[in-house]
Symmetry: none
Subunit: 144 residues, 2 copies
DNA sequence: ATCTCAATTGATATAAAGTATCAATTGAGG
DNA sequence: CCTCAATTGATACTTTATATCAATTGAGAT
């Protein structure tokens, strides 16, 4: 098991960010959550540990970690974004029409597709979103 | 060319919704937009046609159409959701960050990917959305 | 054509999530 | 142990979406 806290801390310092008390607490709480937590959810957890830490600090720390590619916000609906740990590359989603459950997967056949498109449409690609809609096993069972 | 407005109208009535003036105007504006519009964006367009129509009506109509599976909200970030038309299961778009121009394309390398995913996640795929974000040629020229 | 009543509407208020500002505080290097 | 830029957090604000409710409307019955 790799010491994620260490990895995150180092990455911050390597990029010139101070490793402050607030940031340490936030990192710990974030990692303890195992990912899939909202910003405000994290604020609550953090405050159980250190009531003095402000909302903005949590938001800003999440923003920095996102910039560094260590976490990633996932927008699944109109509510708050969930932040997930980015141990590995990127994520695509299966969104169930029945229950709005979001299943993540990593396979990415789009790199190649992107290159193709770049050329054909003279378009410089910065990112992409892929979502498959459908029914997960549970919802098929219900509606059957 | 299929009469989308007719399709949408019928679908509403089939499900017991009244086809009111407001809804007709909203449907027309939505279809005219070609998809890829935000709720508030649609409110503006609708009001050029009929200034009296309220924001809530537009939001509610979008909700109904989503329920019926005719459109679908896409959440790409912290901003407003974009609604896209669900004519035929899938859509591929290049969305320019500079001018918001949307380029559509047909190539679909995702059929195969879909089959793979179906099996692995026990997920019955009904459609998908792929969006590449980036800069079109014109906008690269401007910012260069 | 008119009536009737539930569906629909829209003004208004509110909630939820994220962003901007700025004076006060902090911490890492000298 | 200074110093000064990075960081913090209280506060205010913006944007997006939702709830409420009295007034209006439309589709079927007459």
């Amino acid at each position: 098991m790799d010491d994620q806290l260490g990895v995150f801390s180092n990455r911050l310092q390597q990029h010139g960010y101070r490793l402050t008390t607030a940031r340490r607490v936030i990192l710990e709480a974030l990692l303890a959550s195992g990912g899939h937590i909202t910003a405000d959810g994290l604020v609550e957890v953090v405050r159980q540990q250190s009531p003095g830490i402000g909302r903005m600090t949590v938001y800003r720390t999440l923003e920095i970690l996102s910039e560094l590619g260590l976490i990633r916000p996932v927008y699944q609906g109109t509510g708050a974004a969930h932040y997930i740990l980015m141990e590995n590359g990127h994520h695509h989603h299966l969104v169930c029409s029945g229950c709005d459950r979001v299943i993540e997967f990593d396979e990415c056949v789009l790199e190649e597709m992107g290159r193709l498109i770049s050329g054909r449409f003279d378009f410089q690609i910065q990112g992409h979103v892929v979502e498959f809609f459908g029914l997960c096993a549970d919802c098929r069972r219900v509606s059957a």
